[in-house]
Symmetry: C2
C-alpha cells in the first residue's frame, strides 16, 4: 500500500478525513459515470484548493495541436483529447453570506462515500461561519436508467438559530482542460437561456484538421423547500438560480437539481432545447428517491451477472468491487460508437478513447460478465472504423488496415513514431479478439460476417509489412515495438511475429471454412491467400535452444541480463528514476511481452515451455505497466506457482485504491481494472474456454476463506464458488451445461449446486 | 540542376530577373555576414510579397518551449532557436508619395549582385510611379574590419523631372520568428532614443528555463545629399528619420546609413548607448568607399590563404567560391564562444548553433585554409562547454561528458530521443578533431593541454555507456543512431563502436605519452585506464567474413538489400515520398556511416577493404544529407573510381546555387559547404596529412583544364596546381617543406614552383 485515504469495506469507498494535498486522489476514487457521461468526485460547492475539475461526455473530443519541430511523413497531425465539459453539478452554498469552501472554511464530521453497488455519491459535513453552524449533505448519481440525467439532492440543516443560507444550483461552462498543449479553450458558448429550464449549449471551437465539432447542451431544473427563489443567473458561460432564506435551528432546507445532457452525436443542435425540456419534464414525474430506486435496480441486474465475492479478505473484496464498478460505469455496450479510454470518465491524461487494452484485457472480461452484445459492441466499434484503419496503413505506405494506438475516430492520433508506426502488434490483438469472441460464445456469426472483413484487411497489412530476408530465408518484421514499451524499434519481436503469423493463418483458415464465395466477396484471390500461408509458415520466430525460450527480439540476449532483484530499491520505479536511454538499453521489461503471447496462445505450448519462459522473463520484469501483474499472475497460477500468482495479484487489485503508482490523482487506470478479475478467474480458478466449453483448475489462495464469481457462457450463467474444501458450481440462469473441473466433467444444472 | 535563378560567373552571384515565387531563395543566396551578425538578402525598402526577413546576431538565441505529450526522463526541456533580430537595413523609399515595392510596383532593369570577393551586395532597378521614373541603387556590406558595423548607401537618380523622393532609414524591431513553436514574440523593447544616434535596444523576453537573456542594441546615423531632413520616427519598436525632396531629371540623391550593433554578450547594457555612439563617431571619419576598401583588403587576405580556382568549368568555380565565401563569412575564429550553425546567419531552421558537422566536416577545412587559431577556436569552444557536456551525460545517468547534438551553451536542446540519447557518435568526432588538429599542425600543445581534459571525459562517457555481453564475451553499444539517420536505435553500429574504441585507445595512449603526473591531475587511475584499454581491445565490431565488409549494425544484413538504382525515380527523395516507418526499415542510407568511419581511419584499412565496403554501401546510399556526397567522393577518388568521384562532387558543389534539395529558401546549408572543398582537395588532389607531413595523389577531372588551391600547414602556405600535364607546387608563405606526390618526395621552396 502506498497511500490509502479511504476505509477498507467491501462495497463502498468512504473517506472520513479531508486531506488538502490528496483532493485530486479522492476526486479520482469517487468518480461516477453512466456510459453517456461522467465526472470526477468534484465538490458541488467548489473547492478553493488544489483540485482537478473534470466532467467528460462520451464521444466528445477535440484534436489538440501537437506541433513538434521534427515532423516526418506519416506522423499524425493532432492528438485527440478527452475534454472537460460543462460542470453540471455546481451548487454554490453560502452561510451567513460567506461562501462554503472546505479549503478555507471551518468544518468537521466530514464524510464522503461512493456506494459501489449503485454509484450513489454522498458527502456530509458540519460547517461553521462565526457562531452559525449547519449540517450539509450532498447526494448525486448519474442514472443508468435514463443516461442523460444527473440527479442531485442537497440538504442543509441549521444547527444554530437564524442561519442565513443561500444555495445556487448552476451550470458552469467556464471550464478548461488540464491536459492541453497550448492552453487553448476548446469550447465556445452557442446558446444560453433561463426559465422553466436553465440551459447552456457549448460547441467545440473550430479546428484545422477537419474533425467533427460537437455541441453539448445541458439543461437543469432546480427546486427548493425551506428556501425562497432569489436571483436568476444568466451571464456568459453560466446559467442557474439561487434560493435563499433564514433557517431556524433544527430545520432543513432541501434543494433538488436535475440536469439533462444531450449532444450533437445523438440529436441535431436545433432540437437540443426541446430534447432537454422533454427529458426534464419526464424526470419531474418522479422523486429523487424514485429515480435512485430505478437506477439501483438496473445496477443489481448488472451485479447479478458479474459479482465477485472474496471471503476472508476485505481489502481484496473492495478491490475487485471497485474495479468492476468503474468498468461497468464506463462501458456497458449501449453505444457501439464508443470504447473504453485509459482513464474512462475519471481524467483526461493520455487522450484518446481507445487503446489495444480493450481487446487484450477487457474483451475477455466483458465476454464473461455481461450479455454477449456488450463484448460484440466492442468488436463492432473496430469494424465501423475499418476505413480509418485502412487510412492509417496508407499513411505508412502499406496495404490493408492498421488499427490505431490511440484514437477517437479510428484515425491514429498518437504522436510518437516508435508507438504509432511500430507498436503494430495491436493489430494482432484486435484480430485475436474476433477469434476469442467466436471461441467463447461458440457463435461464429460475427467472425464470419464483419469479423472476417477486419481479419482480411489486417492480414493484408501484415503481408505488406513483413519482408523476406534472403540471408535467413525467412519472413521478418523489422522496426517494431512490442508490448514491452521499455524497448523501441526492435527487430523480430517474438510476440509481434507470432501473432502476425497467427492472424495470417487464422484468416486463411476462416476463409477456407466459409467457402470461396466469401473470399471472392472480400476480393481475396487464391494467390493472396497462398502468400499469407507462406508467410505464416515461414515467419522467423527468435528462439534460443540453449535456454529453451522464445527470445523477445533479435538481440535481446546480448543485453546485460541482471535480474530486477539486483536493482537498488531507490532506483524504482525505473520510469521515474532512470533516463529513457538507460531504460531502453536495459533488459528490464515493462509488461508481459513474450509471455503475453504465450498467455494468448497457451494451447500452443507445453506447461514446461511456459515455465521456462516465465522463469526467464518474469525476474527481468518491473511490472511498471498497470497491465503487467495480472497476466503474470494468470501464468504463475497455470505453472503451479500459486504464491507468485497471489503476490502478483495483490499488485493489480488495489492499484488505484492504494494509489500504487502514485498517479491516481490524474484519474483511474480504467483499462487495467480487469486485471484483478483475470487473476482471480483465469488465474486462481483457472478458467478457460475452448471448443468443448468451460473448464476450471481452481485453487484457493492462502489467507482467503474462499471466493465466488459468476460467468456467463453460451446461454448459461454459472456461479462458481471455490473454498479450501472444494469447488461449487451452480446454474444461475439459462441452460444446463458441462464444466470440466481439473479435467473432470461436472454437470451443472438448475436447482442445486454441483460440488466437486 | 534543379532551379537556377542566378548567372554562372566565377566570383559573384547575380540575378537579373525578379521571380516573385523565388524571393526567399534569392534572399538565401545573397545572405551576408561577418561573424558578428548577418542577414538574408532582404530588400532595404521592404517587400510586400512572400519574403523571409531575417537578421541574426551571433550567440543570441532563445529557448523555445517544446512541450510534447510524452515527455520522458532525460529529454531536453527546450529547443534553442536562432532568433530574428532588429532589421538594421530598412530604408523605405517613396516616389511621388507612393511606397516603392517591387512586389506591386512597376520596375525594370533589375539587377542584384553579391560580390563573392568581399560580400558587397548591390541592387539596382528603374522604378516608375505614373510618369515619374527613378533609378535606384542600394549597396551594403557588413564590415569585417569593424564587425559591429553595417554600411549602406542608396542612390536615387531622377530620370524624369520634378520627382518627389522620400527616403526613410530606420531600425525596425517589430520582428517575428518564422520558426517558433508557439508563435510567441521573443523580444521586448527596453530602450529607444533619437538624436545624434537613433537607437533601439531589444531584450529577449523572460524564459522559464533559466537560460541567459540578451539585449541587442542597434544605433544608426543617416545622412543625405540632395534631400532635406524631414520627420523623425520614434515609436514603439521603431526609430529612424526621413529625408525628402524633389529631384530634377538627371540629379541624384544619396543616402548613407551606418548602423552599429552591440550585445550584452560583450558589453553590459548600461554602456550600450555609449558604445554605439563611439562606434558611429569613429565610423564617421571615413566614407562608405573607405570603409569598403578596408573591408575588402581583409577579404583579400583571407582569399590569399584559401582560394580555389578551377579552370575550364565556370559552374564548378562559382560553386567553390560561393561555398568558401559563406563559410568564412560565418566563422573566422574571432570568438571562441561561437561555432557554426547549420544555416549560419542565413535562416533559422534547425535551431542551435553547433552540430557535430563542425568537427566532422569543417575543422579539416579550417585547418588548411586559415591560421591555426581559427580551427583551434572551434576546439576551444568544446573545451569551454565541458561542464555542460558533463551535465548532459548526467541527464542520461552516465559518467563523463556527452557533447550535445544541438546547442548554444553546451546543454543539449534537441528534442528527439533517437537523436539526443542515441546519436552519440558525435562524441567521437569531437575527440577525433582534437587528434586531427595535433596531427595536422604537428603541434601537440592543445591536445596535451585542454584537449586531453575533453578526451578523458569523453572516454569516461564511453566506458560507462558500453555494456559487456556475457553471451558474446565482448563490449557492446546498444541503442544508438549512427551517422545514417535513416535508422534509429540500432545495436552495435560499427561506426560508433569503432570510434568509441578508438577514443579510449587514443586517450590512453596520449595519457601514457604525457606521463603519470597529467593522469593524476585528471584523476585517471591506472585501473580506469586499464579498463579503457580492455574495452577498446574487446569492443565488438560487426563484420561479415563472407562479404568481407564491416556491418553497419547487428541486423543490417537481414534487410531487403535492394540497391537504390531499383527504386522508381518518383519515390525519391525518400524523405519526402516515404513514411518514416518505411525509411527506417529500408536498407537505404542517408549519408556515409560505415564509410564515414573508414574515411576517418583510412590508414587502418587496405584500399581493397575500402573498395569492398564502398561497393557494398554506396549503391544503398541515397545521399539525402548534404553531408553525404563529399565523403563518398573522397573515397571514390581514393579507390580509383575518378568518374564516380566527379559525379558525387557535382552533387555537393552547387547544392545551394542550384537549389538541389529544394529547400535553400530556408537558408544555406552552411555546414555542408566544405564538401566541395573536401572533394577537390582530399578527393581529386588526394591530400592527406600524417606525421610525415603533407602528401598528394592528384588527378584532374575530365572536362577541367586544371585546378589550384592553397593550403596552410605547419608554418607554410603551399599553392597546389593540378593540370592534365602534372602538378605544380609553390610556396606562397612560410618555410620550405617536403610534400609527397604520388609517394615521391618533392621539395617546395621559395621563388619558383616545383613541377612534378
Amino acid at each position: 500500500m502506498h497511500e490509502r485515504i479511504v476505509e477498507v469495506e467491501p462495497w463502498a469507498v468512504t473517506a472520513t478525513r479531508l486531506d488538502g494535498s490528496a483532493i485530486r486522489l479522492l476526486e479520482s476514487l469517487t468518480s461516477t459515470a453512466n456510459g453517456h457521461f461522467g465526472m470526477r468526485g468534484n465538490f458541488e460547492e467548489g473547492y478553493g484548493g488544489d483540485t482537478h475539475p473534470g466532467t467528460y461526455v462520451a464521444g466528445v473530443w477535440f484534436p489538440d495541436r501537437t506541433r513538434v519541430g521534427w515532423w516526418k511523413n506519416g506522423y499524425p497531425e493532432y492528438f485527440g483529447k478527452v475534454i472537460n465539459a460543462t460542470n453540471v453539478i455546481a451548487i454554490d452554498l453560502a452561510v451567513d453570506g460567506e461562501k462554503v469552501d472546505l479549503h478555507t472554511g471551518s468544518f468537521n464530521d466530514f464524510r464522503m462515500r461512493l456506494d459501489l453497488r449503485n454509484g450513489l455519491l454522498t458527502r456530509t459535513f458540519d460547517y461553521a461561519v462565526g457562531t452559525a453552524r449547519v449540517r450539509v449533505s450532498f447526494e448525486r448519481f448519474l442514472s443508468i436508467a435514463t443516461p442523460e440525467l444527473c440527479l442531485q439532492r442537497v440538504r442543509v440543516t441549521a444547527l444554530t438559530d437564524g442561519v442565513a443560507v443561500t444555495a445556487t444550483p448552476r451550470l458552469d461552462g467556464d471550464v478548461h482542460n488540464l491536459d492541453s498543449n497550448y492552453n487553448e479553450r476548446f469550447w465556445q458558448e452557442t446558446a444560453r437561456a433561463t426559465g422553466a429550464v436553465d440551459l447552456l449549449s457549448l460547441r467545440t471551437v473550430e479546428n484545422p484538421f477537419g474533425t467533427p465539432r460537437f455541441t453539448v447542451t445541458t439543461g437543469m431544473r432546480a427546486t427548493a423547500t425551506g428556501l425562497e427563489a432569489a436571483e436568476v443567473i444568466d451571464q456568459p458561460w453560466q446559467v442557474g438560480r439561487s434560493f435563499a432564506g433564514t433557517l431556524a435551528a433544527g430545520t432543513t432546507a432541501e434543494i433538488s437539481k436535475t440536469t439533462a445532457l444531450v449532444t450533437t452525436r445523438d440529436i441535431d443542435f436545433p432540437a437540443h432545447a426541446e430534447a432537454v425540456a422533454s427529458l426534464l419534464e419526464a424526470a419531474d414525474g418522479a422523486s429523487f428517491d424514485d429515480h435512485l430506486a430505478a437506477h439501483s435496480a438496473r445496477w443489481e441486474e448488472r451485479w447479478r451477472r458479474c459479482e465477485v465475492r472474496i471471503d476472508g479478505d476485505a481489502e481484496a473484496q473492495q478491490g475487485i468491487a471497485f474495479n468492476l464498478f468503474h468498468l461497468l460505469s464506463t462501458y456497458y455496450g449501449e453505444d457501439t460508437r464508443l470504447n473504453i479510454g485509459p482513464k474512462g470518465f475519471t481524467g483526461e491524461k493520455y487522450g484518446g478513447a481507445t487503446y489495444w487494452d480493450t481487446e487484450a484485457y477487457l474483451v475477455p472480461l466483458y465476454l464473461a460478465v455481461a450479455a454477449p452484445e456488450v463484448a460484440e459492441g466492442l468488436l463492432t466499434y473496430r469494424h465501423r472504423q475499418l476505413p480509418e484503419a485502412q487510412h492509417n496503413a496508407r499513411q505508412q505506405g502499406l496495404a490493408g488496415a492498421l488499427y490505431p494506438m490511440v484514437t477517437f475516430t479510428g484515425v491514429e492520433c498518437h504522436n510518437e513514431w516508435e508507438i504509432t508506426f511500430e507498436e503494430i502488434h495491436r493489430n494482432g490483438a484486435i484480430a485475436f479478439a474476433i477469434f476469442n469472441h467466436a471461441r467463447y460464445t461458440g457463435d461464429r456469426r460475427y467472425l464470419e460476417g464483419p469479423g472476417l472483413e477486419v481479419l482480411v484487411e489486417i492480414s493484408r497489412f501484415w503481408a505488406d509489412r513483413v519482408h523476406f530476408s534472403e540471408r535467413r530465408g525467412q519472413w521478418m518484421l523489422h522496426g517494431v515495438t512490442g508490448p514491452n514499451e521499455y524497448e523501441n524499434n526492435v527487430n523480430n519481436n517474438w510476440y509481434t511475429n507470432y501473432i502476425a503469423a497467427w492472424v495470417l493463418r487464422f484468416t486463411s483458415e476462416t476463409l477456407a471454412a466459409v467457402g470461396a464465395g466469401r473470399a471472392e466477396e472480400l476480393t481475396v484471390t487464391p494467390d493472396e491467400q497462398a502468400r499469407w500461408d507462406e508467410i505464416a509458415s515461414g515467419m522467423y520466430l527468435p528462439h534460443d535452444d540453449e535456454l529453451g525460450i522464445n527470445v523477445q527480439h533479435d538481440t535481446f540476449l546480448d543485453k546485460d541480463l541482471r535480474p530486477v532483484a539486483e536493482l537498488p530499491a531507490e532506483q524504482r520505479p525505473l520510469n521515474q528514476k532512470w533516463s529513457w536511454d538507460r531504460i531502453l538499453r536495459s533488459p528490464y521489461i515493462k509488461q508481459a511481452d513474450v509471455l503475453q503471447g504465450m498467455y494468448l496462445f497457451e494451447e500452443d505450448f507445453t506447461p514446461e515451455e511456459l515455465r521456462r519462459n516465465f522463469d526467464f522473463y518474469e525476474p527481468l520484469t518491473v511490472h511498471e505497466s498497470s497491465l503487467s501483474p495480472s497476466i503474470h499472475s494468470v501464468i504463475a497460477a497455470r505453472i503451479g506457482q500459486p504464491d507468485k500468482a497471489v503476490d502478483l495479484y495483490r499488485r493489480t487489485a488495489r492499484l488505484d485504491l492504494d494509489n500504487y503508482n502514485n498517479d491516481t490523482e490524474d484519474g483511474l487506470h480504467i483499462t487495467s481494472m480487469s486485471g484483478s478479475w483475470l487473476a482471480i478467474v483465469q488465474g486462481f480458478a483457472g478458467m478457460r474456454v475452448d471448443d468443448q466449453g468451460l473448464s476450471l483448475r481452481p485453487f484457493c489462495p492462502d489467507g482467503w476463506d474462499g471466493y465466488s464469481f459468476t460467468v456467463g457462457i453460451r446461454g448459461s450463467v454459472v456461479g462458481v464458488r471455490v473454498t479450501r474444501g472444494g469447488t461449487e458450481l451452480s446454474l444461475i440462469d439459462g441452460v444446463p451445461l458441462t464444466v470440466r473441473v481439473d479435467g473432470e466433467p461436472v454437470e451443472v444444472g438448475p436447482l442445486e449446486a454441483s460440488v466437486c
